[in-house]
């Protein structure tokens, strides 16, 4: 893994970690369209229902608002003036409005309910698509993206997106409909007052834009400061014991105070500006209301004959005036959160647009058996595997036994095209041979093994597996034929049994126990509280390093692959456990072609071929005895160590 870590630490990746200001959304409309496209793809019917419901809701509320006018103008005023006490027409009118209201309430209910399915359903699909796509991405993607950033898409970005889909979008939609319909009603009532209201709205929008801009700027600063502080805290908490040992508490506090103060300042400004938005808008709304009342009052009083602008109309207009500023206020409040959601969506779509691993291979690995001296495909597990080779030109299929012969021919490789890390690698592993790689950190040992299973593709040269170019083999079959025990053991949440079964999904319990026994894991598993059914959580955090390695060996053993790649652990586990692990590995290696990144003399000495790497080149190659006889680098390494040890 050492090489991979180097890339992760390389330039350009760490800088993008949390804490940097959120990137500006380049194409907000495009992203919004894409989100809506996503929603429509699966939930077009739901969406139609939601839109209809929002229409009905707005319609009923506008009807209700209009009712104030009718109530005063058509019912109360005539009754006051005529002195009659016939409440029949009023009752009928109220019943009619009640119906509208009922409709509105029902529509709200339906909308909310449908929205749950739509919102959660979209997120579920998005989550699944993200995960599925992520699984298909090449290893390179994981090298160049901080794991924290990937995770943050599943948590933060998805959450802000959920808010946007289930709250902001319907809110905006209903605001837009309200604005349009209220505007229409206002125009009908009085054009001059409408113009006046619009002027006030323009002022409101201008002020909101300013406040939003300022708070937005400070929110970005706050995010950055929060990220800085977060990073610092993380660093200090991880190194807290070192801080203590070095009496560094005072200095740690001083730097913390500085970062803390910066965060406080930007958070204060961001909140103050965004908090100012509400009062500014609502008081501007009130002012607009007052001005309309004054001017409307003047019009209603002076020209009530000519304009037909009644007191009731004024009352309604004023209600409209209020219901006009409200949606505008809401839209401006939603603005920041929508921008945030779009930025998150942008990151998610970038993940989805990432190119998956390609697989142009066509040679397949199949179970085989011999019939009349010919190798044929078997429909059951035979323990023998063959490469199924389909020849397009002659439309024939040939079978070739799988043996585990691997050759490298002039292979060059670099994580980027600019910088090669492996040069002209030539080697040949015959079936059943054990090949050991030795060399210093960064010499390219792990990299070579990552090429065999095509975690990375080579720039030049050829790698052949049983004389087939590995590019022609289907990736999934190629990887199935290779067992890997990595230096960092990764286990999954689940039982011990589940974790071993990971190597062969249809393994029986007996096979699992047999594999565990082979890997020397059986005895410790038996002593676990629930034996093979013990739950492992948090990457097997409740097991020791050695035990985790034993499980990884058992997992590889049950897969029973013909070719094995082993990365011996260097971590300091105690001698007794180490011997058990070593013994498990030895048993696993017997009879298989094995590539081992070796750290132990015994492993190296027993290898059929030792490959000494330095700075991406093979500098020596041969058996232990041959290399010792040559008295070069390997000899130096070996004797240097012997004199130290003995």
């Amino acid at each position: 893994m050492a090489e991979a870590k180097v890339i992760q630490g390389g330039p350009g990746t760490r800088g993008q970690r949390r804490g940097m200001p959120r990137p500006k959304v380049e194409n907000p409309i495009g992203i919004l369209k894409r989100i809506m496209g996503y929603v429509f793809k699966y939930y077009s019917l739901h969406m139609v229902v939601v839109v209809i419901c929002i229409f009905l809701t707005v319609f009923s509320s506008v009807q209700g608002t209009l009712f104030t006018r009718t109530l005063i103008d058509s019912y109360i005023q005539p009754m006051v003036e005529s002195g009659s006490a016939d409440y029949g027409p009023l009752l009928a009118a109220i019943m009619r409005v009640a119906l509208f209201y009922l409709l509105g309430v029902a529509a709200t209910f339906v909308q909310q309910k449908v929205m749950i399915y739509l919102g959660q359903g979209t997120l579920k699909r998005l989550r699944e698509d993200m995960f599925e796509h992520m699984e298909s991405l090449p290893i390179r993607y994981f090298d160049t993206h901080a794991h924290g950033d990937i995770m943050s898409m599943y948590t933060n970005d998805i959450d802000t997106l959920r808010q946007m889909i289930s709250q902001s979008v319907p809110q905006m939609l209903s605001s837009a409909i309200t604005i349009v319909s209220v505007l229409a009603s206002m125009i009908v009532l009085s054009i001059p007052l409408t113009v006046l209201t619009l002027v006030m709205v323009a002022v409101m929008l201008f002020c909101s834009a300013q406040a939003t801009r300022m708070s937005g700027k400070n929110f970005v600063a706050q995010q950055k400061n929060l990220g800085d502080l977060n990073g610092y805290i993380e660093e200090m908490m991880t190194g807290q014991k070192v801080v203590k040992v070095f009496n560094h508490e005072q200095l740690a506090v001083e730097k913390f105070d500085k970062l803390n103060e910066e965060l406080c300042q930007s958070a204060f400004k961001a909140n103050a500006y965004s908090g100012a938005l509400g009062p500014i808008n609502s008081q501007l709304g009130n002012t607009s209301y007052v001005i309309c009342a004054m001017i409307g009052g003047a019009i209603a009083l002076s020209g009530s004959v000519g304009t037909g602008f009644t007191v009731g109309a004024l009352a309604s207009f004023l209600t409209f005036n209020k219901s006009f500023s409200m949606p505008i206020n809401q839209v401006s409040m939603q603005f920041n959160s929508i921008i945030m959601a779009l930025a998150g969506a942008d990151r998610i779509f970038r993940l989805l647009d990432e190119k998956p691993e390609t697989d142009e291979g066509y040679v397949m690995l199949v179970d085989s058996e011999k019939k009349d001296g010919e190798i044929v495909e078997a429909d059951h597990h035979t323990g023998h595997w063959a490469w199924k080779h389909y020849h397009k030109a002659s439309d024939t299929t040939t079978y070739q036994p799988m043996e585990g012969d691997v050759t490298f021919n002039g292979v060059d490789f670099g994580y980027t095209d600019e910088k090669m890390v492996l040069h002209d690698i030539v080697l040949h592993a015959k079936p059943g041979q054990k090949i050991a790689f030795v060399g210093s950190t960064g010499a390219g040992k792990t990299t070579i093994t990552n090429l065999i299973n095509r975690f990375y593709d080579i720039q030049d040269g050829k790698i052949r597996y049983d004389n087939i170019n590995i590019n022609k083999i289907k990736k999934k079959d190629l990887r199935r034929s290779l067992g890997i025990v990595l230096q960092d053991t990764h286990l999954f949440t689940g039982t011990v049994k589940d974790n071993i079964r990971y190597g062969k999904l249809d393994a029986t319990d007996e096979e699992i126990i047999a594999a565990a026994k082979l890997a020397n894991a059986h005895s410790f598993i038996k002593r676990l509280p629930e034996g093979y059914d013990t739950m492992l959580t948090g990457d097997g955090g409740n097991l020791s390093q050695g035990q985790r390695q034993l499980l990884a060996i058992a997992r590889a053993a049950i897969a029973d692959p013909p070719v094995l790649i082993l990365d011996e652990a260097t971590s300091s586990i105690d001698t007794r456990t180490e011997r058990i692990v070593q013994d498990g590995m030895d048993k696993l290696m017997s009879g298989r072609t094995t590539f081992v990144i070796a750290h132990r003399l015994s492993t190296v000495r027993n290898s059929d071929c030792i490959i000494v790497l330095e700075q991406g080149r093979i500098i020596e190659q041969g058996t232990h005895d041959e290399l010792i006889a040559r008295k070069q680098k390997y000899y130096q390494l070996y004797t240097g160590m012997q004199s130290e040890t003995a």
């Binding site: 109360i76 309430v105 994981f142 958070a267 990971y502 456990t577």
Partner: protein, 581 residues
């Protein structure tokens, strides 16, 4: 908990008081305006009095301006108070963590502390702002609107009264049910994300075993499960909005109906009817707001509890009164020492340890995992306190020293060592802030770190990334040793600090120690026999006890544990090919 948190408001008491006052001011303005509006309609328009309209209208503008300032004041002081409060909380926690002893640190996980310092504080900050701005506003808005309605017409206002009680009950009921469901969902949601995390970090395993489809199936099942749970939880609150609007509508209709009767009877003016309808929204919205505040406080209280835990945690190692301020020499003695990490546990980690180490000796310590090697040395610089017996440095019980003096003189290179983001020089100067470049270079030379530092493009000014991720394990260990050397301690402890350094370099470092700092007592914990066999004496630890304390030659002869380790390693199993020079 509340008291602990409140104590951190400190200099932000004034803004914390001003904010609600501002909010009340804003509420009063909002309430007065409809009354004035009613006056305009009634007296101004129907009375045909333009003068009145302008007079009262002017007054309203003045009040709106007043309301604006009250609102802005609320925003300003509210942010000031809440962000300041948050700052103080973070500082209180961080400061207290700095006083923590190792056992305090062990109690909290690193990620737990980070969450407490960030997410939890942000939750409290938001809740505090909400409380300051809304907790006064919402009830006062509701009460004022209610009073106004009662003044206009007690009969009509009683409709609101009934509506408020009705809604209050419904909201309480729904919230109560929903919080339970949501808590459950979010726990499951965390699990889902954990499994994503697992896949991200183990992607090589997934790909190597071609288990993409398997993982996809697993994830799809989990995602579907979450989907169902979310839908179920949200279905609980789906009634809220329709019930709310329905109640508002019902109120409007009832007020209209009865209001119309009263107007016809001459008991109510049309203006007053309009005011009443405005109050309707005010009252019910405030109620909704109150419910939200309630939920927010419930959610924040969990965060508050976690924060209070950190602030209230008492450091369990403190300086004695009138501590000893100098360490006379580097001798170490253990006198019938028992030690357990947890005072109540019956199984001690170290059992009856007796040791005498002379100043300037080089001592090796060897033993299997869990044999308590680290625990043993951690007692010397008083990173933990003994359970029984005493540990003496320079003839003085370590508990009698000033801790800072003691730790300056007993320099430990921890097993889990870290570098901090900053240049190499900055990292080195943790050992001695006043060290000259020359001194730093000398320390690096002793630790065999000079060779690779000088090969780096920026040499000693090379920037170390967080956690030292841009240097290899062996390089990191050597830098940590150099850093510890700069303290010029009387006692130097290396806790398995050369495990990633190749044997030849390891030997060179030990040789340098012998030549350059002969007077310093050196304790070296190692897995490799080769790292300790030249030591003056070697302590063999076995299961919390000293199984042998003698020279290499004697131990080979007399100590079974030692001989076993020795034989297994010289059998050629443990030499290290990884980092040759």
């Amino acid at each position: 908990m509340l008291k602990t948190l409140m104590a951190q408001i400190k200099e932000f008491k004034l803004p914390s008081i001003i904010t609600p006052i501002c909010m009340i001011g804003e509420v009063i303005c909002e309430m007065v305006i409809p009354v004035l509006m009613a006056g305009i309609v009634d007296k101004g328009i129907y009375g045909g009095d333009m003068g009145y309209i302008f007079r009262v209208g002017g007054m309203m503008v003045v009040i709106a301006v007043f309301g604006l300032f009250a609102g802005l004041g609320g925003a300003y002081f509210g942010s000031k108070a809440s962000t300041g409060f948050a700052r103080n909380l973070r500082k209180a926690m961080f400061d207290n963590i700095q006083t923590f002893s190792f056992s305090n640190i062990d109690k909290f996980s690193t990620s737990g502390l980070v969450t407490r310092l960030t997410t939890d504080v942000t939750n409290i900050q938001n809740a505090y702002m909400m409380i300051l701005r809304m907790a006064m506003r919402a009830p006062s808005s509701m009460i004022v609107a209610m009073i106004m309605s009662f003044i206009i017409s007690p009969r009509l206002a009683s409709i609101y009264f009934v509506a408020v009680i009705f809604l209050g009950i419904i909201i309480g009921f729904v919230m109560n049910r929903a919080t339970k469901y949501f808590k459950e969902v979010f726990e499951k949601y965390d699990l889902l994300n954990e499994s994503v995390q697992e896949n991200v970090s183990a992607i090589r395993v997934v790909k190597a075993y071609v288990r993409e489809d398997y993982e996809n199936d697993k994830f799809r099942k989990a995602a579907t499960n979450i989907y169902n749970m979310f839908v179920k939880a949200e279905m609980n609150i789906v009634y809220m909005s329709p019930v709310m609007t329905g109640t508002v509508y019902a109120c409007i209709l009832l007020i209209s109906w009865f209001g119309a009767h009263m107007i016809v009877a001459g008991d109510l003016s049309t203006g007053n009817l309009m005011s009443l309808l405005t109050y309707c929204m005010n009252i019910l919205m405030s109620l909704m707001m109150l419910a939200m505040i309630f939920v927010m406080i419930t959610m924040a209280s969990a965060s508050g509890k976690r924060i209070a835990e950190v602030i209230e945690e008492k450091a369990d190692l403190v300086n004695k009164e009138n501590p000893v301020m100098s360490v006379p020499d580097g001798s170490i003695s253990f006198d019938h020492v028992n030690f357990a990490y947890n005072r109540t546990s019956d199984e001690p980690v170290l059992k009856d340890i007796n040791l005498d180490i002379k100043s300037g000796e080089t001592i090796g310590i060897i033993g299997g995992t869990g044999s308590a090697k680290s625990s043993l040395v951690n007692l010397i610089s008083r990173l933990y306190d003994v359970t029984d017996g005493s540990v003496r440095v320079g003839g003085v019980d370590v508990r009698d020293y000033d801790m800072q003096i003691l730790r300056d003189q007993v320099s430990v290179v921890l097993q889990k060592n870290v570098l901090f983001s900053g240049t190499i020089l900055e990292n080195l100067r943790w050992g001695d802030p006043n060290a000259t470049d020359e001194e730093c270079r000398r320390a690096c030379k002793m630790a065999c770190a000079d060779e690779f530092i000088e090969r780096m493009p920026d040499g000693y000014d090379t920037f170390i990334e967080q956690g030292g991720s841009n240097v290899s394990g062996g390089q990191r260990q050597r830098l940590c040793i150099a850093r510890a050397l700069l303290k010029k301690p009387r006692i130097l402890i290396l806790d398995d600090s050369t495990s990633a350094v190749d044997t030849a370099t390891d030997a060179r470092i030990r040789r340098a120690f012998a030549e350059e700092i002969p007077g310093t007592t050196k304790l070296i914990i190692a897995q490799r026999i080769s790292s300790v066999q030249d030591c003056d004496r070697i302590i063999v630890m076995d299961d919390g006890q000293i199984s042998g304390f003698d020279t290499h030659e004697q131990l080979i002869k007399n100590n079974v544990v030692y001989r076993e380790v020795y034989e297994s390693q010289t059998g050629g199993a443990n030499a290290d090919f990884d980092k040759p020079q």
